[in-house]
């Protein structure tokens, strides 16, 4: 593979990973009020290339956040126990939103790199024109 096509494919893998991260974040946000929901966590890892090759990024396994669920006091809730409390989710909206913003910025950075690699290869092709 040439440098430009590998640059484009590695940028595409980065955008794909960030898009998947954003998808899990929106799952978390939409389930913020679901009782007993544990937020999903994903981590990125570098796919190993051989030798000096360009190595793309990939998304690792989805894990569930094992931190404590929040307890909500509402005696009228159907799931409330004898103390009048029930378990909510462990989603913190502030963290999810900050993470979503970071994913967006990283996506934009990858998009910019993709665009630049495309510009460079097209200016190379311009040499063939008279």
């Amino acid at each position: 593979m040439t440098d430009f096509s590998s640059a484009r494919s590695v940028s595409a893998s980065g955008m794909q990973a960030q898009a998947q991260r954003l998808r899990h974040l929106s799952e978390n946000i939409s389930n913020a009020d679901t009782p007993g929901y544990r937020r999903k966590l994903i981590s990125f890892q570098t796919a190993m290339g051989q030798g000096n090759q360009i190595s793309p990024v990939q998304v690792g396994r989805v894990r569930l956040d094992q931190s404590d669920l929040s307890t909500i006091y509402d005696p009228s809730h159907p799931m409330a126990d004898e103390t009048g409390e029930y378990k909510g989710s462990n989603v913190n909206l502030l963290i999810e939103l900050a993470d979503a913003r970071e994913a967006q910025r990283s996506y934009e950075a990858n998009l910019k790199m993709f665009d630049q690699a495309r510009n460079m290869s097209s200016s190379l092709m311009q040499l063939l024109r008279r």
Binding site: F4, G14, Q45, T46, P56, A109, M120, S123
Partner: protein, 128 residues
């Protein structure tokens, strides 16, 4: 024939170097959120032609030499250590953007040199 002219050789090597740099920067940016990732960068193009090579690297002066030809088809990338983030990632997006702008301008410059040399040749051989 024409690729044996030094100006074509040098500008093609410079464009190739800029392309490799761009591919590495793309890799760094894609892995900017990967925990434990260590960034890579290319040594500057001028290092190819400096008389004192960077320490440890042997200088190839002929195509038959072990580490490539004199024009260095493939330059080895080096790791960027130091300045780790809390998740042991060494990428700073701002620095990568700066390097990307550099790579683009280097590539443009190399192509401009190539094109102008090509125009000179074309003028020389044209009948009109």
């Amino acid at each position: 024939m024409f690729e044996n002219l030094t100006v074509f050789q040098t500008s093609a090597a410079m464009a190739r170097h800029a392309g490799q740099t761009q591919a590495l920067i793309s890799q760094n940016v894609a892995n900017a959120d990967t925990p434990g990732y260590v960034g890579h960068e290319m040594p500057p193009f001028a290092a190819l032609y400096s008389p004192d090579e960077t320490a440890g690297n042997q200088r190839a002066t002929r195509a038959g030499h072990l580490n490539g030809s004199a024009s260095a088809q493939e330059m080895a990338s080096v790791e960027m250590r130091g300045s780790e983030n809390p998740n042991e990632n060494t990428i700073s997006l701002e620095a990568e953007m700066l390097k990307a702008a550099d790579a683009k301008s280097n590539h443009d410059r190399a192509l401009a040199i190539y094109k102008s040399a090509l125009d000179v040749l074309r003028t020389a051989v044209s009948t009109r």
